[in-house]
């Protein structure tokens, strides 16, 4: 398995370079260093000289890929692509274009609020979703199943934005049980985390229950389940002990892939609940045309995606002894 993991890590290198290159191309097709400078310096009283000075300070005065004013190696190294990519590859994220803050430090600060929301949401949602899915599967072909599916389809058809605004209105404004928005550290954090977590769980329950229900229904019609029932096992035991174990592969595919993205934060949640996480960090950077932050976040996202795929493969071997990674 170790050889497999090493091989996968080596495969990741060209993928990461490719992602960096595509991010770079897309960003500079959409924007130019002049546009970045204008957005960052503001609209009023800005001259071309100010823009040129800003580009000079931030290394955007260089050509994108090839610098024919230089000779030798410098033709490639004295370019925006090289200068901005090399540090990134070694996790030296540098400073933001907009206000010169240290990006690594900012990511380290902002990852915790994102995780404070994402981890409880993820764990509670997983438990709730699987439990409800199994219940619905248990009551298959009854009114509980029918109405369960109707409720799930209805819930998954509603936008997350509605859950957020509705949740803030109901729990924060009408029932006055939680602060409508905000964030704090230490023990004060809990009162701010509960509402986004509840909304996150409710908002995702429709789609997840419907998905897991399908998996369970597939399992409960298999021969080994019939055998278990024939042996006299109760339906609860059959579902929770036998069907659940065998349904783990598709569940894991779905679940493990989402784990790395928990750290990237949720844009809507963070915006509406004023949570200082990585989701809002990224979107603010896109609006401000802060290429330094955008490329770092895309880079981290790509790495997390690769890690997620690898973890999924490894987790298969844990739940299904028949699978070997070679």
């Amino acid at each position: 398995m170790l050889a497999y993991i090493i091989r996968r890590c080596l495969y990741a290198i060209p993928i990461i370079i490719g992602v960096n290159l595509i991010t770079f191309l897309l960003f500079f097709v959409w924007s130019s260093p002049d546009n970045m400078a204008r957005t960052i310096l503001g609209e009023k009283n800005i001259t071309q000289e100010d823009i040129d000075n800003w580009k000079r300070d931030h290394g955007y005065h260089l050509p994108l890929f090839m610098n024919f004013r230089e000779s030798g190696l410098a033709v490639f190294t004295q370019t925006i692509f090289f200068q901005k990519s090399v540090g990134l590859m070694f996790f030296n994220f540098g400073r933001s274009d907009r206000n010169n803050i240290d990006i690594s430090r900012e990511i380290r600060r902002r990852i915790w609020p994102s995780l404070a929301i994402a981890i409880p949401t993820f764990i509670i949602a997983l438990l709730v979703d699987i439990t409800f899915a199994m219940l619905v599967a248990y009551y298959r072909a009854t009114y509980v199943d029918f109405w369960g599916v109707v409720v799930c389809v209805t819930m998954m058809s509603i936008s997350m934005l509605f859950y957020i605004i509705g949740g803030q209105w109901l729990f924060g404004k009408m029932l006055r049980l939680f602060p409508i928005s905000g964030y704090d550290t230490g023990t004060n954090m809990f009162k701010f985390v509960i509402l986004p977590v509840v909304i996150g769980v409710i908002g995702g329950v429709g789609m997840a229950v419907r998905f897991y229900r399908t998996i369970f229904l597939e399992e409960v019609n298999k021969d080994y389940v019939r055998t278990a029932r024939a042996k006299g096992l109760g339906e609860g035991k059959v579902l929770f002990k036998h069907a659940l174990k065998n349904a783990m592969i598709p569940i894991l595919t779905n679940v493990v892939m989402t784990i790395p993205f928990l750290v990237m934060g949720s844009l809507l949640m963070e915006n509406f609940f004023a949570i200082p996480g990585l989701g809002s960090f990224t979107i603010d950077a896109i609006y401000a045309q802060d290429f330094a932050i955008v490329r770092c976040m895309v880079y981290i996202g790509a790495i997390l995606y690769i890690v997620g795929l690898l973890l999924t493969d490894i987790s298969y071997t844990l739940v299904d002894p028949r699978i070997r990674l070679e």
């Binding site: 300070d57 206000n99 009162k191």
Partner: protein, 732 residues
């Protein structure tokens, strides 16, 4: 279960427990002001900061020599740290003194001598901290000393010192530092003697150092990373700068190349705040920069407040500056101020509030709901909440709705010193040009664009139709017969200004060569509207504009692009019609009329004249008017300039926005101001009243949860029975 819920509810109510309070319990009932910000401030360095969101913070901390009177309107400059508002001394080319009224062309030098008040102290700050020997404690920080430092307040020792004129001189020099990208440097270079040369010299120093480093480092040199590790230190005293002179400890001079009375307004902006050299030296240390502790985030000033906490993604906290110099709440001759209770604190020492907490709220809905719950002291009004917040009287005056009235919330309105307009590109073949036909085409479009209707539909009445670039509150604004735009409005004593009919617009269009919206060859007239509008409101606004032009037979085609493309089009003069706006830097007509001054053409000179309008007569009058005092002669010139603009119609004058602000009754002394930004020191809050209202408005409601639990229980019964039957049933 029901009893359990009731018990919890009763105990919560009895103990006065409020569950939705976002603030720590120790802040309850305290003399704290609560407000919001909706995006991270980019810069808090006064040499760089140039947005109203940032000014709300730094203007409480930094003190330029002048400020605006809090209560008086029209706006009046008064001393802040200066002893008095300086009066300029003018000198001719021969060096002889000239009288105050001298025409601008005779003035070769204008000298402003500013005397600051002695005894003003800076806030407590580690950059001033000294050891027993008198050496600065934190100007050479080691990694060991930095171990537990994450914010400025983590430093154990602090110090202060007296403000001196040298700090103001130093800051003016900093404005020329090429690494700070001061947004008004290009403006100041036009007026301050030697500033352009000084900035160029600093730039050369910087480039020389960069070149040296690049040559010695080799092909893989990365300038950005290198300068992060080893910042370049520029010596601001290495070059002569004739535009600023230190006279003595409390006096300095600013010397201008020409007559420019507007410099006084700049002296009331943070750009001209004092900067202690100790602070710059302190913050230039790489160890601090690596922890994001920079002058751009942690200001050092003499103002009424000092920055205590900055977590720009969560909250910013200001605390009263213990060393704030004596300043008294102002008096006012305006009778309205007395009626509004704005004079009850006259003569009392400022500031009144101990602490100001600004919370990040990116979305309006949560911000609005928390304001209604009493967790924020003031709020603006969005279009979504307008109907909930405001109703109009029979006379059309806005007032707060019943709900808000029940909470004793007050509404304060304010016409902003801003103007919105649709700009024609005067370089365009179809809509541009200065012939009578082209003028009539633009006048016809100006009539068709019924902005009274637009204001009602899209801004909920929060706007005043404009007749020229000059907004209300600025010298030169007139709304009587002499002030209206006679090419778009008819005036009558009974009804005031009435927009001309569409028939009149069609007649003008026909005279312009587009009878029925078709040119002489029968080709329909199509006008392209360039914009970067997004969101739900954009479609409705575009549709409204299209319909207005269709009413006189013109087809409008929409060209929406992303903001970068749109900005390129504006810069290159590659458009026909666009929507734009301007928010005043200072309350002078020059700051609006320069938007149409020929040498400010955007396409040609990268200036603020986006219409690229160029009329020699207008330009000549502008040059004459800009350096004049506000007097009848200046007013006559402004009238003439406005008339030229109304006739040439390079803009469709649309409207001046009106802001609506809501204030809880526990906030006292609030008076909206477009110019003064250091207003926190005048406000007063009654923390006790606020706490009582919060308790009353935020009692938790628990009974619906009980019902929900009960319902779940009821629904679970048949399901449980089904399971029970299935488990015990016989196999089929």
């Amino acid at each position: 279960m029901r009893h359990f819920i009731l018990l919890i509810s009763a105990s919560l109510i009895l103990c006065g427990c409020i569950l939705n309070n976002p603030y720590p319990s120790e802040q309850r009932g305290k003399n704290i002001y609560y407000s919001t910000f909706d995006e991270e401030p980019k810069h808090l360095d006064p040499a760089q900061s140039y947005s109203s969101d940032e000014y709300r913070l730094i203007c409480q901390i930094y003190e330029p020599p002048l400020q605006y009177h809090y209560l008086k309107r029209p706006y009046e400059l008064i001393p802040l740290t200066a002893q008095e508002v300086p009066t300029p001394k003018y000198f001719g080319a021969d060096g002889n003194a000239l009288p105050k009224e001298s025409p601008a062309e005779q003035v070769a030098r204008a000298v402003y001598e500013i005397q600051i008040q002695p005894g003003i102290l800076y806030q407590e700050h580690p950059c001033f901290a000294k050891d027993d020997k008198g050496d600065f404690l934190y100007h050479r920080l080691s990694s060991e000393e930095m171990r537990d430092i994450y914010q400025i307040r983590d430093f154990k020792y602090t110090g202060t010192r007296e403000l001196s004129a040298a700090d103001y001189v130093y800051q003016i020099k900093r404005l020329a530092d090429p690494r700070l990208h001061c947004p008004i440097l290009s403006t100041l270079e036009k007026y301050i003697l030697g500033m352009e040369e000084y900035a160029t010299a600093l730039n050369h120093d910087l480039e020389a150092e960069r070149k040296k480093r690049r040559e010695s480092a080799g092909a893989t040199y990365n300038q950005e990373l290198d300068e992060q590790r080893n910042p370049i230190s520029l010596d601001l005293d290495a070059h002569p700068f004739g535009g600023v002179e230190l006279v003595n400890r409390y006096t300095y001079r600013i010397i201008l190349k020409e007559k420019y009375p507007q410099i006084l307004y700049w002296l009331a902006m943070p750009f001209f705040s004092p900067m202690p050299k100790e602070a710059v030296i302190f913050y230039e240390q790489g160890a601090l920069k690596n922890r994001n502790i920079t002058l751009d985030r942690f200001p050092v000033g003499t103002g009424a407040y000092r920055l205590d906490i900055i977590d720009p993604h969560k909250e910013i906290v200001l605390k009263r500056n213990e060393h704030f110099h004596s300043e008294l709440y102002p008096s006012s001759s305006e009778s309205e101020d007395g009626k509004l209770g704005l004079l009850s604190d006259t003569g009392k020492h400022l500031p009144f509030i101990d602490m100001a907490v600004y919370k990040l709220e990116k979305e309006f809905i949560p911000r609005w709901n928390k304001f209604l719950q009493g967790y924020y002291d003031v709020s603006s009004i969005s279009s979504d909440t307008f109907d909930q917040a405001i109703q109009f009287t029979d006379q059309g005056d806005p007032q707060v709705s019943e709900v808000l009235h029940g909470k004793n919330i007050r509404l304060l309105t304010n016409v902003e010193t801003a103007t919105y307009y649709l700009a024609f590109n005067m370089l365009d073949d179809v809509v541009g040009g200065y012939t009578e036909e082209k003028r009539k085409l633009r006048q016809a479009i100006s009539i068709a664009m019924d902005y009274e209707e637009y204001i009602e539909i899209f801004t909920n009445g929060r706007g005043i139709p404009s007749y020229s670039p000059v907004p209300p509150g600025i010298f030169g604004y007139e709304d009587e017969e002499s002030g209206i735009n006679p090419y778009v409005y008819n005036f009558s004593k009974e009804h005031g200004a009435l927009r001309k009919s569409l028939d009149e617009a069609k007649r003008l269009l026909a005279e312009a060569g587009y009878a029925g919206g078709k040119d002489r060859n029968g080709k329909p007239l199509t006008i392209y509207f360039d914009n970067a509008w997004v969101g739900a409101g954009a479609t409705a606004r575009l549709s409204w504009m299209r319909k207005k032009l269709e009413a006189i037979g013109i087809t409008m085609k929409n060209r929406t692009t992303d903001y970068n493309r749109f900005r390129d089009k504006v810069r290159n003069g590659n458009f026909q019609l666009l929507s734009w706006g301007w928010l005043a830097d200072y309350p002078d007509p020059e700051n609006f009329l320069f938007l149409l001054y020929g040498p400010n053409s955007q396409a040609e000179y990268d200036g603020e004249n986006v219409a690229n309008y160029k009329n020699p007569q207008y330009d000549r009058l502008f040059e004459q008017m800009r350096s004049m005092e506000n007097n009848p002669q200046r007013l006559a010139i402004i009238r003439e300039m406005k008339h030229i603009l109304q006739r040439d119609a390079p803009w469709v004058f649309t409207y001046h926005p009106v802001s609506f602000g809501l204030y809880h009754h526990w906030v006292k002394n609030a008076k909206p101001s477009n110019m003064a930004n250091n207003t926190l020191k005048y406000l007063r809050v009654n923390g006790g009243q606020r706490e009582n209202n919060r308790q009353e408005w935020n009692r938790p409601v628990l009974w619906p949860i009980g019902i929900a639990v009960a319902l779940l229980f009821v629904f679970a019964i048949p399901a449980t029975i089904t399971i029970w039957r299935r488990e015990r049933g016989k196999a089929k």
